[in-house]
Structure formats: C-alpha cells, structure tokens
C-alpha cells in the first residue's frame, strides 16, 4: 500500500508540472443556447455570406446553400441536444435512403485503381475543370496501405480493413454504404458523402471497395 501511494504522488506532481506551461487566455465560450452572439444572428450572417463570396470556375455561390444535414452539423452546441434527437434520426434515415447499391450486382472492382483513387485529391475546386474524374481524397484523412507513410489522421486507420472484418455480405454492404454516404451511420461524420454528392461514381466506389476488401490488396497483407 505504501508503494502505491508514493507512485500516485509522483504521477500527480508530474501531471502538474506538465500542465503548468499554458499562459494564453481561453477564448470566449460559445453561448449555451446555441446562438452565436448578438451581432451574429441570421440576418447579419446571411448578409456577410452573400456579399463576401463570388462564383469561380465550377464552384458557384449556389454551394453556400446548406441542406438540412449540413445545417444541423454546423452548430457544435446543438447537434447532440435532446431537442434535436428526432431531427438527427430523421436526417440519418434520409441519408441512408440516399445510398444506391451496385446496379450490376458487382461490389468489388480493381484494387490497383482503388489505390490511385485513394491517392488523388483532385476535383470540384474552382481550379478544377468540369467533367474530369474526381479523386477520393482518402489518404488526406486515413492510413490505408502500410507502404504509404504520408497519411492523415482525421479518420481511423483502414490498414488491414478486410483482414480484420472478413467479407460477409453484411460487411460488404456496410462498407459500400460508408463510402457512398458516411452520414447514414454517423450523422455528423467528417467524411464527405462521396456517392450521394456525386464525387465518385459506382465504378470508382467498386475500386475503393476492392482496395479495402480484396484479400490480394496490400491493405490486407
């Protein structure tokens, strides 16, 4: 017992020493009622947005119009409030309904293409041209193969994705749904809705599926 107490003291004083360095004042807290401050109500905010952006290339000001899911997820204070429980369920259902499963019954494509799609961040910016194939942006947020060291950590690692989960019908269907519309299973997921928003087409999703689930894919080696 004596030994344990000494350890606790050491750990506690170490923690205190580590946290002592911070001297910056904490920023103003968000209002608890979900508002944004007296000067940042809808009228003022909308005026700022309308006068502050211009269409450029394929990125038009139409993009600023939010759908209900984006609107819900834009207020960190109220997303998970009790008041919004019904709304969250409704929107999650709508996102789920948007998922289009493979039209030809094929769920897996070519993992080599999938790796290229995962590596590419191209598409949909105002400096991209209309009609060119979009990339999946996947490595920006996820670890995928073991070989690629330049990966992001905004999303969980997908290394060994198929090896860990197997390839049951349920897993395949779930994975397709995640790529098509991640918000169907997590309403304010940070992951773009690649299928539902038309970023990637069915063939591209098939190739990403293969990257994750094909036993021959480097992801599962």
């Amino acid at each position: 017992m004596m030994t344990f107490k000494k350890k606790t003291t050491v750990v506690l004083s170490l923690l205190a020493a580590m946290t002592a360095g911070s001297v910056l004042a904490a920023p103003p807290a968000l209002p608890k009622d979900g508002s944004w401050g007296s000067g940042a109500g809808d009228a003022n905010f909308d005026t700022m947005m309308q006068s502050g952006f211009q269409s450029k290339g394929i990125a038009t000001t139409e993009r600023l119009k939010q759908d209900p899911t984006q609107k819900l997820c834009s207020n960190p204070t109220t997303i998970y409030s009790a008041k919004n429980t019904a709304l969250r369920e409704k929107l999650q259902g709508e996102n789920e309904a948007s998922i289009k499963y493979p039209s030809n019954g094929n769920w897996l494509g070519n993992w080599k293409n999938g790796e290229k799609i995962a590596q590419s961040g191209k598409g949909l910016t105002w400096s991209d041209k209309a009609g060119e194939a979009n990339g999946g942006n996947c490595y920006n947020c996820h670890q995928i193969t073991k070989e690629e060291l330049a990966y992001g950590t905004i999303g969980p690692s997908l290394y060994n994705y198929g090896k860990l989960r197997g390839n049951s019908e349920e897993t395949i269907r779930y994975t397709w749904g995640k790529i098509f519309n991640a918000k169907a299973t997590n309403i304010c997921s940070l992951m773009p809705r690649a299928g539902a928003m038309g970023v990637l087409n069915e063939d591209q999703i098939r190739d990403l599926m293969a990257l994750l689930l094909d036993p021959e894919s480097p992801v599962n080696k």
């Binding site: 103003p28 003022n44 000001t61 993009r63 939010q66 905004i154």
Partner: protein
C-alpha cells in the same frame, strides 16, 4: 488489497509500451519532416519580400503621387512597428473592422488615389497583388516578437469575431466541409501536415502568428488573405472576395483566440 493496484499499474505500463511501439514508424516520418522544417527557419526567403515591402511603403504612387508613409494601421499615421499584432481592429474613419490587407486598400485609395477595383479582382500570383503581399511581409515583420493584442471591446469587433466563429463551423459544398472539418479537432493531421485546433488559444496562435509566410513548395510569399483564399478553395467553396467581411471575420476569430501569443511573422512553411 495489493494485487488490484499492481495489476492496474502493470496495465498502464503495458498500454504505454504498446502505444509507443506502434507510434515508432509514424514518428520517424514525422520527425524527419520536423527536422526539415526546423532547418528551413534559417535563411527565410520571406526576408527578401520584407525588404521589398519596406521600399514599397516609402514609394510615391497613384494619381496623388503619395507614399503610404502616412497610412494609419491602428497605432496612428505612419506607425508600423507593432501594428500587425493588433489587427484586425475597428477603424473610426471607415467605421468598420479591418484586417491588414483591407486597411492597405483603404490607404491606397485615400492617400494615393488608387482605384483598387482591379487589384481586388486580380489573382494572388499576379503582379497587381504583389505589392500587397510584399507590404504584408514587411508590416508583419515589424510586429515580430510582439504579443498579439487584438481587442474585442468595440461592439463591431466582437460582432466580427462572432461572425467569424459562426463561419468557422459552417458546413457547405459537395464535401460538407467547414473550417472545423480540419481545424475543429485537436491532435490531427491531413496527410503529414499537422492541423492546429483553431477554437483553442494555442491552436489559433499556431496559425495566426506564422502567416504571412514563404511557402517553399511553391516558392511563393503568401499573405493571410491568400492563405484563407486557398483554404476555401480546398473546402470546395466558391471564392471569398479579397478583403471582404468574410475574410476579415475569419481573421478576427483566429486573431481574437490568439491574444497573448507571440508574433513570429513572417513565417516559412513547407
């Protein structure tokens, strides 16, 4: 009674060991990048733009053949030292909150008689914007080592901050991206680029105190307006208008969160 305590400490030790070894490969890549970034700090080409900006500040230009030396950046006409650390701020003569580049446009119009319409529309990499970029480098350098002291006391300053905060969380476009998508979590990175958590003081300071910066990968000097512009591009948003309230609001949010941190501008980035 002893056994559970020993088990608990053993578990902690094993958990720590596991997390350290699985981090090892990732850390060696990040460590290498970190070492490269540190080596970059010496001999920052931004210094070349600082010198150029200092000359432009003194150069007579525009229909009124006047220099910018009487420009009031918030500390009185012509006072450059320390001004950047206190921007954005409310200005009585224009009755609005302005960041550095917005204020420079005001001075170019009022002191030099320049019509800034074409400058506002011009691409950042074009010669028309070059003077503003160099001036940003120079004026930010004159606040190096000074503490960020951005006031939110004036109602319009607080309003600009609040509008910027609301915009920070605003999801839109085909990717549902908001600034918060990348900058709204602590300890994350995009590819190998660490992402500061901007709603926190430390995170906001990481970004706010190091731009304007020279970007080695593109060989370009970027002002803060340029940095914000390219963020919106990658968010798949439409383009923010140069020096619009949208851009000043986002800067007010970042600067307001950074109060007390030390300016290290101009910075150097990968």
């Amino acid at each position: 009674m002893r056994a559970p305590h020993i088990k608990a400490s053993l578990f902690v030790v094993i958990a720590l060991a596991f997390s350290v070894s699985s981090q090892a490969q990732q850390d060696s890549t990040s460590a290498g990048i970190e070492a490269y970034r540190e080596a970059l700090q010496d001999g920052n080409p931004a210094d070349l733009y600082v010198d150029s900006g200092a000359e432009i500040w003194k150069k007579k230009a525009g229909p009124k053949e006047a220099s910018l030396e009487k420009c009031d950046l918030g500390l009185g006409p012509g006072k450059v030292k320390g001004a950047y650390a206190q921007l954005p701020r409310y200005f009585k003569d224009t009755n609005k909150v302005q960041d550095l580049e917005s204020r420079l446009l005001t001075c170019m119009e009022k002191l030099q008689g320049v019509d800034t319409t074409e400058i506002v529309k011009a691409a950042f990499s074009s010669p028309k914007k070059a003077d503003l970029v160099a001036l940003s480098a120079y004026i930010s350098a004159e606040s190096k080592g000074m503490k960020v002291k951005v006031s939110l006391a004036h109602p319009k300053e607080r309003q600009m901050y609040d509008l910027g905060r609301r915009l920070f969380y605003y999801e839109a476009g085909p990717y549902d991206f908001a600034c918060a998508t990348c900058h709204g979590q602590d300890g994350k990175r995009i590819r190998l680029q660490d992402l500061p958590y901007i709603p926190s003081a430390e995170g906001a300071a990481k970004g706010w105190t190091t731009w304007p910066a020279y970007r080695v990968s593109s060989g370009q000097m970027w002002s803060m307006q340029w940095r914000i512009n390219d963020c919106f591009r990658q968010q798949r948003f439409p383009e923010p208008i140069y020096a619009s309230d949208v851009t000043v609001a986002i800067s007010s949010f970042m600067a307001g969160n950074s109060n007390g941190s030390v300016m290290q501008t101009p910075g150097i980035k990968r």
